[in-house]
Amino acid sequence: MRRQRTTHARVRVFETLARFLITAGGIATIGAVALIFAFLLWVVAPLFRRAAIVPETSAEEPLVRSPGDALRFQVDDHGVLGAVLFSDGTLLALDVTNGAVLEELHPFGTEAGEQPALYSFSGDGAKSVLVAGFADGTVRVGAIAFAASFPPAGELPAAIRALSPGEHAAEDGGVVQALPDGRFRRLRVQAELGAAIVPEEPAPILRLGHSRRGDRTIACAWRADGRATLLDVRERPDMLGGRPALRVMRRELPRRADPRLGPPAHVVVTAAGDSVYLVWEDGRLERLDVRDPARAVLAEILDVTPAEGVRPTAVASLAGGATMIVGDSAGGVTAWFASKEPEAGTSDGSVLVAGHVLAAAGPAVTCLAPSPRSRLLATGHADGSVRLYHVTTARLLGETRMAAGGAGPLQIQLAAREDAIVALGPTGVARWAVDPGHPEASLAGLFAPVWYEGYAGPRHVWQSEGGSDSFEPKLGFVPLVYGTGKATLYAILFGAPLALLAAVYTSEFLDRRWRAPVKSVLEMMASLPSVVLGFLAALVIAPFVQSVVPAALAVIGAIPLSLLAGAHLWQLLPAPVAIRAGGYPKLAAMALALPLGILGGVVLGPALEAAVFAGDATMWLDGQRGGPLGAWTMLLFPLVAGAVCVAGGRLAGPWLRQRSPDWSGGKCARVALLRFALQGGASLLLALGLAALLAAASFDPRPGIVGTYVQRNALVVGFVMGFAVIPIVYTLAEDALSSVPDHLRLASLAAGATPWQTAIRVVIPTAASGLFTAVMIGVGRAVGETMIVLMATGNTPIMELNPFNGFRTLSANIAVELPEAVQNSTHYRVLFLAALVLFAITFVLNTAAELVRSRFRRRASRL
């Protein structure tokens, strides 16, 4: 039969098809990865978009009254309806887009003039709470609210029904807005006032400050007689719809030493109700510690203005009521908050600090408007400019101007949704549409230490969410990156040596018949779900290790020592016995060294605890007892022992090699054992000496290198994550070693080298880049590991080297927080940024590993 020389058509078709499919698959894989990257970028990019302030409307409609008398200006959540409270007690509802007055209300009486003169008031944006003080000394707590209702379209006039979605029109003293779903929202200004709180002293109230938390209002009233009262008002809402009952606690603050100062210009009460700030016209600030209102004390006196002659012109309390913003006549805008400093000697162990300087100089500040929902702040200036700041990161986000040239805004408001700024000027109202972007997420805010309110100084902190809007988000990325690094380090420290040594053993020493099954079994380990490993670590290993800390530490040291000692003892066997027992008996002996090491550790544990940890490991680690000598010795011993081994090999090696050819095998073994023992002893002495030096220099590893023992810690997680890393490192390392061509091994053995010398001197150097790749891929695996970390660490965003406490990794953080993050919010995008960082780290690691690996492959194929 003639041999067919042409390829069969069917084979050709299949070949083309296969080539096409494989190419398409490859391109699709690259495309998919690129798409993921592009998607991550697309979600993250808006984080760094600039804020936008766009002028919308500006009305030159003069108000019926002199706007200079306006005490308070407020806008509803949607930035459409405004309310202006005048010093005679009149409240005007106006449409802020055209300045039209919609309604005139008299919340303090039926007609203007009939009511007691309104002397002072204070309000905060969040709940639009207002506290009013009167000439007769009474105080009333109330609210200016914007009531929303949804009237059926049928009840509305035709002109309003004709509005297109988003538009609004005046109707019945308020405004009606058309909503996108075809329904209508009616907004009206509503003033509610609680019962009058009758004073003990009927002196007129000159200044008021207050803070509100839940339904508790704490107000500080400065009276004309130069005294101040602290009022603690709790409302008990009546579920039957009646007026809330008030429970008032009243405390006179101590009489001031210097009555010549006159009344303060501003009174601020912190939300916690623990401090009252009194600010005078010249910048003098007195902080009263009123944690116990019955025993109020003057905590400190300072100057909130930068220089002589500069006056504080506007003072406001930031959302959350813990930060006070001071704007001054020199254009400075500064954020002040109390910072714990027990050494300062103040009555409450805190000092007021200027945590953020938003602006140092410029046109005088006329008004301030903190956002009720976040750390945004709008400022109005005498030259008519309006600025938007983010306080936590101290950044100017944008600037705009009042249309009417020159005059500065008198009152300014940032709508609660942060989508509009409304300013009340001498001649009318102006409104800007605002998009603040994601101000918390500047590069400095994410990666540099930030001074958060109430902290002792700038710090890296990750605490992204709180239970309320007053919470200051803390988006410091560094603790998460640090945690990822720490997790990876401990996982690799534990996993990589084991995996590499196992690979060397199986490829160089193990009987060929056993190689494949061993490899498969190790690879099976990879199929163990990491959630199971995490569960084991959290519920079994961590509590167990906690109960045996000293023994566990002793075991870590005892196992390598027992294996080394075992090897030296094996050498003592007579040569014929050693050769005969070279197979399974030797393996059994090696296997015996492991439990013996563990047993040794357990036996030595209490001794170690007594010698190194002053009798109690957890308390020693917590820094409560004992000195650092033993611990330094323990920490330094492995390093010193390594150095001594190398030095011993260099110094004593050649000398021994010269003499040993004449010695018998037994003598060689005895000398080696002696050398091992001598080197061990020398290392111990040297480590002790170094430790004594360090201890004498009063260096203590606590807290720092080691510290308080926590049940869920890096050691346990490293141990368990090591298990997850071992299979992949082992497989790749084994592949690298077995791809070293056999003729190199045979040549080495033929030249008289032992299998050990062949492995160390020939095979490993040849496969080095492959082994490196294996470790790199292992690092990549550890960086991305989520479930083990999530379950077995406490997810504590700590930045400490201490192997005995936990950490929070980027990946676990994403898993924990993504379900709660509102889509497209700052938090959501920052979590995607974490994903992007993670992607970048693993991409770089894997690419580097792959490059090294391909080089190794080329080199190996040439051998």
């Binding site: 949804f150 809402p237 623990d274 949704r417 109430g454 902290y455 969410e465 889509q823």
Partner: protein, 337 residues
């Protein structure tokens, strides 16, 4: 806080149902539940982990009346409820805290109206220690100094060891090991607001993904302390008594104190519903809510380890979604609304 005061009001509104020391019973004024025809579909609840068991019990009870209804409960934390309600993936959003203004904003941006908030039951957030721990009680300021980094509760000194809380012997020098919830949880937010006075958690608080893993953590860590809903209490842990301040008495986490408002960490557990004001609820959601606020529904609350609301609160909650308590006529409870 409003929540505490509301609880106080609940006590006042009770019609002699619950007195101090008595076992908690469901308010007699609540009607039994009578199934109505025409209810089918699927219910998906996304939100609070604290309310997981509770939602499941309600689901099971509801399924007994309507076997064709499919019910799915997902509880990863209260903060997952608003995004799910906005995306329309959840029928109900159970939350163990009130919605934040920002979350309501996001909802309003999508729908034009705020979500309806229904207080369904009462929980006592308990502070747990290991069962061997001799600690009896804590003031809120002490709780704050244990858990908080910036101590807004007013204590001058940080509390790090059990000795600083007055424990002697082997406990005195042992560091306190802290367990808490992850930030998606409403419990995390509520505890932060009330027990930490709005301060920040220490970064050494071990964040656990669920209420039961907090309890589990404390049970396996002799020197641990953690907080979780009372419904997750086990024999391995002990709930310590709490006091509002140093001058107030220590109040144990017992039901009678939840209603009296004396226990400082009593709170409502809410269901949030996407309800356009003035509209009529679809039969599925209408019947589910009617079930929740019926006698069997509130008995499920007891089964889950929480405390039922009174008929007054139930009536208020139902009114928020345009429903009312169905009249109970002796022997012949009426359906329909």
């Amino acid at each position: 806080m409003k929540r505490q005061l509301l609880c106080t009001v609940v006590a006042g509104a009770l019609l002699g149902g619950i007195a101090r020391g008595q076992a908690v019973k469901v308010d007699r004024a609540l009607p039994t539940y009578e199934p109505v025809p025409g209810v089918s579909g699927a219910i998906k609840s996304v939100g609070s982990d604290t309310m997981n068991n509770l939602m499941t019990l309600w689901g099971e009870g509801f399924k007994k009346a309507y076997p064709d209804v499919r019910i799915e409960v997902e509880g990863k934390g209260s903060s997952t409820a608003p995004p799910a309600l906005i995306a329309g993936t959840a029928t109900f959003g159970p939350m163990s805290r009130e919605m934040k203004a920002k979350e309501i904003d996001a909802f309003e941006k999508a729908f034009g109206y705020p979500p309806a908030q229904l207080p369904t039951s009462i929980d006592m957030l308990a502070v747990y220690v290991h069962k061997d721990n001799p600690l009896t009680g804590l003031t809120l300021a002490q709780v704050d100094a244990i858990f908080s980094l910036n101590r807004k509760g007013g204590l001058d000194r940080d509390i790090r060891t059990w000795g600083e809380l007055g424990l002697a012997g082997e406990w005195a020098s042992q560091p306190i090991s802290l367990y808490g919830r992850n930030s998606a949880s409403g419990t995390y937010g509520y505890f932060k607001e009330v027990a930490l006075f709005g301060g920040d958690y220490k970064d050494t608080v071990k964040e656990q993904p669920g209420s039961s893993s907090v309890v589990q953590g404390v049970a396996s860590d002799r020197y641990g302390i953690g907080y979780s809903g009372i419904g997750y209490k086990t024999a391995e842990v002990r709930a310590v008594s709490l006091a509002l301040d140093a001058a107030s008495p220590m109040i144990p986490a017992a039901p009678e104190h939840a209603y009296s408002g004396d226990y400082p960490l009593a709170r409502f557990l809410y269901l949030y519903v996407n309800y356009p004001p003035g509209a009529a609820l679809d039969p599925l959601r209408r019947e589910f809510l009617t079930y929740v606020f019926s006698r069997p529904g509130q008995e499920d609350v007891l089964k889950a380890g929480y405390f039922p609301v009174t008929a007054t609160v139930a009536g208020g909650a139902l009114r928020a979604v345009g429903l009312q308590i169905r009249a109970v006529e002796a022997g012949a409870p009426k359906g329909g609304d």
